[in-house]
Symmetry: C2
Subunit: 306 residues, 2 copies
């Protein structure tokens, strides 16, 4: 069975392709890493890179990427719409097949410590890796951004980093590191053009208003389909699966007297989630992802054969 | 997206581990192949090897395995319960993700021709690769086995091979080559201990008695579970999926006034089949296997990155 971790670091450079390419190269250069893709946003002046691999490869590659970014990006000259505190702004580690959130928390702590020690960039632990309640949310850590944190990290004891000295790196700033579960973007379409129905259902199913754990939801009108849509982010599949979310929306739709038209996964989702839905459809009594031929092959390849 | 073919060759050696190891090595030595496993059966005196990989790797490895077997196995000294005509008895090519049955048919023809030309082993095309109705079934081709075919291939025009001279290889005999869809073993358990219910349902759903295309089915009593079971082989998932089979058994069970307890996949199944069931469970309007993270990673690895 493959044992894989995903990493989606964000860098404060969204305009200079050469810089982003050099960061990508430092990831690819680590044996075992699989580079999945990147997005550069010029107005945010920010890039999001996605890669995966065996835990030790991903851990090393995340550090190398941060090191390269520190050499190439100067926060004193960075302007962009998106909030940020460092050249490498945030490094989330996400458990994929065969790995756990606990392993990702352990990785994130080691990487955060190494960045502070070897690169002299102070680091903050967030999300599941947070050691304090007020560090769980990225926005709390990024308050005041690079410019504001420069002063606050020195003067405000509550802003001290988790690793490193309370002093920003002169050009690379600070970096946030942590572990979080994989996030799935999932939309359910309703057979009505009345967006108010979708908005009421979204309110019923989202965690914030007492709905399903880990679910964020909003109601939209989708012009191209002339249909109302409940648009969800599933942030903790172990507590609310896509099937759970689908069922909850279906129940609420029924109460509204509206049919569910269908659903869509936006972007990627883990094989475990696909298997879970299949298990329910087929009423499978026992099933393991390693019964999926392609998954078994991936395991062979990432373990280096035999 | 990965493009993969599976190959499950059968060899007439189930006792000498060294011989089987050398055949396995000749497969592993071909770059790109992924060796999935093997089974040796002493009473059948036969081995079944499973490997997969990009089409060109699998094609080359199948030939190399056949060559090694021809060097090591002497059919004149072979005794075993299982019907066979050659050292490499049969080589089925099976399309996995991203490849088609047509591509596997093309591979099987090239391999069959190459075996005949380079190794001087006459070859027969079977299953989807068959060029004649009476060559679709393996049992028709293997009639009389090695000992009987030695004479018949010379004297009986209907037994002429598809490639090569009408003369058995002096030690390696003949080989059957072909393409077939992936086969899934799928069982549905009923909430009754009455095996006659399972037998009646099996008869209703199997192709032979006018049921679902590509479905073979039998009814059993499973002692450990104290339950009747409809045991199926799904030989053409493009025509009857696991979900189709489940629904058909459920319908017949309802007619019998019996509940379906659950189901099980025995062994492996392709990711496409898991995705299909998930699509139905979630009423997904559009879905592609390449949205599965692990599947995307497999694609990266088998295409050699980038």
């Amino acid at each position: 069975m493959p044992k894989l971790v995903e990493c989606v670091p964000n860098f404060s450079e969204g305009r200079n392709k050469d810089t982003v390419d050099r960061i990508i190269r430092s990831i690819r250069n680590v044996a075992g890493t699989m580079f999945l893709g990147y997005e550069m946003d010029a107005s945010h002046n920010r890039s999001v890179l996605t890669f995966a691999g065996p835990p030790s490869s991903v851990e090393e590659a995340a550090f190398q990427a941060c090191k390269t970014a520190a050499e190439l990006i100067d926060m004193n000259r960075h302007r962009g719409e998106h909030p940020r505190i460092g050249a490498t702004d945030v490094i989330p580690f996400i458990p994929l097949s065969g790995s756990t959130i606990e392993e990702c928390i352990a990785i994130s702590r080691r990487v955060a410590e190494r960045i502070a020690t070897e690169l002299r960039i102070p680091t903050y632990l967030y999300e599941r890796s947070a050691q304090r309640e007020d560090r769980k949310n990225l926005s709390d850590i990024r308050k005041g951004e690079y410019e504001g944190l420069k002063e606050a990290i020195v003067s405000d004891p509550s802003r001290r980093p988790d690793f490193g000295e309370p002093l920003l790196h002169p050009t690379a700033g600070a970096t946030v590191v942590g572990a979080r579960p994989v996030l799935v973007a999932y939309n359910v379409y309703l057979q009505t053009a009345d967006v108010s129905v979708a908005k009421r259902i979204a309110k019923k199913v989202r965690e914030r208003d007492g709905g399903l754990p880990g679910v964020k939801a909003l109601g939209f009108f989708i012009k191209e389909k002339n249909m109302a849509q409940v648009s969800m982010n599933l942030t903790d599949l172990s507590r609310t699966s896509a099937a759970d979310a689908f069922d909850a929306v279906s129940r609420e739709a029924e109460r509204e007297g509206v049919e569910v038209h269908g659903s869509e996964i936006v972007g990627l989702l883990p094989v475990t989630e696909v298997a879970r839905a299949a298990v329910q459809r087929l009423k499978l009594m026992e099933f393991n992802e390693s019964q999926i031929i392609e998954y078994k092959l991936l395991g062979l390849l990432t373990e280096g054969g035999e």
